[in-house]
């Protein structure tokens, strides 16, 4: 398993798109280094204000970049499964004394681990800069690293499934774009927006059903933001107050997303184990 994970890393590093991302991440970090000024020297700003300012910057950064980071990471890893399934490559892999389940799981974990290390670099650097500049070491911000990786892992299970069934990188990218930027946001605000106009209980049921079935990368970001600002997180359901511009995140959004990921990956494993190559 480690051999395939290591090779997945090599594959990622060999792709110029990853080099481009790391250069972009480095630019973001450098901008943070010079653009953010949080000075407590000589009592210019009180510690409470510094804490709030840091939280504001952290939350603002996550709000702006979360979906983009997850989406572009999915774009850059979308070709891993289709390239593994090419004739002449898959034959050789399956002929080795490694089970098909191990091959697929290793590829998946390799991509997730690569994402995790990328986030350690990006978010870890931002945290260091903000903490060093402000003097306020907000360790809670570091929770964003595993949570954004989790959001990626959930969405990447869709890449794996589409890669196995269609062997197409483009379809994986298009489906993820649709989910992250269209369907999931619409489903998350269905109560405040759609149900205001659509009163039919049957249609509402369908929307609710889709919401609970599909993954919720946006809600995972909301959970992260809530932890950062010390806001209460409900267990069962999210709620949005459109007038006040306020929201309450829920743990159930994370749990159902994980269930979706496990179920889809399990089916992908079954499909891969039965397929002729």
């Amino acid at each position: 398993m480690l051999t395939i994970i290591k090779n997945t890393f090599r594959e990622a590093l060999a792709k110029k798109i990853f080099i481009g991302y790391y250069i972009f991440y480095a630019i973001v970090v450098i901008l943070m280094l010079f653009a953010v000024n949080l000075d407590t020297v000589e009592g210019v700003i009180s510690m409470t204000d510094v804490k709030q300012s840091v939280n504001l910057v952290e939350k603002g950064f996550l709000d702006i970049s979360w979906a983009l980071i997850v989406f572009f990471s999915l774009v850059s890893t979308a070709s891993f499964i289709p390239s593994m399934l090419e004739k002449g490559t898959i034959d050789l892999l399956i002929s080795k004394p490694v089970s098909r389940f191990t091959i697929l799981l290793s590829k998946y974990l390799g991509a997730v681990l690569f994402m995790f290390l990328s986030m350690v670099f990006l978010l870890g650097s931002i945290w260091l800069i903000l903490s060093a500049k402000s003097g306020y070491w907000d360790f809670q911000f570091l929770i964003a690293i595993p949570l954004i990786t989790l959001a990626f892992a959930v969405m990447y299970s869709i890449n794996v499934f589409i890669g196995l069934t269609t062997q197409s990188t483009i379809i994986s990218i298009l489906v993820n774009f649709f989910l992250i930027f269209v369907l999931c946001p619409i489903l998350s605000i269905r109560e405040g927006l759609i149900f205001t106009f659509v009163k039919n209980t049957g249609v509402q049921f369908v929307f609710n059903f889709l919401y609970w079935v599909f993954p919720k990368p946006g809600e995972i970001k909301d959970i992260t933001s809530s932890i950062l600002v010390g806001k209460k997180i409900d267990f069962w359901s999210t709620s949005i107050n459109m007038e006040a511009g306020d929201f309450t995140a829920s743990w159930m959004a994370l749990i159902t997303s994980l269930i979706f990921c496990i179920a889809l990956f399990s089916y992908s494993t079954y499909y891969f184990s039965k397929k002729d190559y």
């Binding site: 090599r10 060999a14 002449g88 002729d276």
Partner: protein, 266 residues
């Protein structure tokens, strides 16, 4: 001892969207023994690659059974004793020659780094690729890729090696070197399952040959047995046999043999 045994092995491909079915293999029954080089001959679409893929559990049979080392092919426990070189193999092109062998060597079960490095040195030397070991394989020629593929298939010292068109794209000198390597492997008691469209290659090194056509096993036996019947014939006699439409088996056999059997001139 029979290393490979198949019994009534069949494979049917069907399309999801149409009712059309293709019989890639029909009731294929044969055995391959330890310490021999077994050749597969046949035109394109005969079922040669399908047979190899079923034996390696890359594809699954529709019916029948297949065993390697006495174990069902669907179990992957025997795969550490097997090497494979697929036709048109593709290695990750971001790797160097050395990294390719290291990667597939580890997947084959060679976990000891010292032993693996020693084998990599040995096989790169044997294939004449030592000075290219640190070069990315995207710069390799077809012949070099083929030699690297062959090295990869032998790295774990397997008892059984499947080679699908091993000399494809290799120059005549390279082909001779590969034939010598295969002959040496047989002398060491290894079993080689060779799929090649080059009849001269098959004739030179194979102990036994199976001829396939459209999924059917047409003939099986030693190269001598298969050719002895026709060696005494003149070209005219062979053509006469074909003109009077012999049964399909003889027709295919004659066509294949005409390419390399030294038939006497009229």
């Amino acid at each position: 001892m029979s290393l490979i045994e198949t019994k009534n092995l069949s494979k049917e491909y069907s399309s999801r969207f149409s009712k059309q079915k293709v019989n890639a293999l029909n009731d294929f029954t044969f055995t391959a023994n330890e310490g021999e080089i077994f050749g597969l001959l046949g035109p394109n679409g005969a079922g040669k690659t399908t047979l190899i893929k079923i034996l390696l559990a890359i594809t699954f049979q529709t019916s029948g059974s297949a065993k390697i080392f006495g174990m069902d092919v669907k179990s992957h426990k025997w795969k550490n004793k097997v090497g494979y070189l697929p036709e048109n193999h593709k290695f990750p092109n971001y790797l160097t020659g050395e990294q390719v062998l290291s990667y597939y060597g580890r997947l084959s079960g060679l976990k000891n780094a010292g032993e693996l490095n020693k084998k990599i040195d040995e096989y790169l030397e044997t294939m004449g690729l030592t000075k290219w070991r640190k070069t990315k394989i995207k710069k390799y020629s077809k012949g070099m890729m083929q030699k690297l593929g062959l090295a990869q298939s032998m790295l774990s010292n397997p008892d059984l090696i499947f080679l699908d068109e091993p000399t494809d794209g290799v120059d005549p000198i390279g082909r001779k070197e590969i034939r010598d390597i295969l002959t040496n492997l047989r002398a060491k008691g290894k079993t080689i399952f060779l799929n090649s469209h080059l009849l001269s290659e098959v004739e030179m090194i194979c102990d036994r040959v199976a001829i396939l056509n459209k999924g059917d096993l047409i003939k099986e036996g030693s190269v001598d047995d298969l050719t002895r019947k026709f060696l005494h014939l003149t070209k005219k006699q062979v053509l006469v046999k074909m003109k009077y439409k012999p049964n399909p088996e003889r027709r295919i056999l004659i066509k294949l043999l005409m390419f390399y059997v030294p038939i006497k001139l009229i």
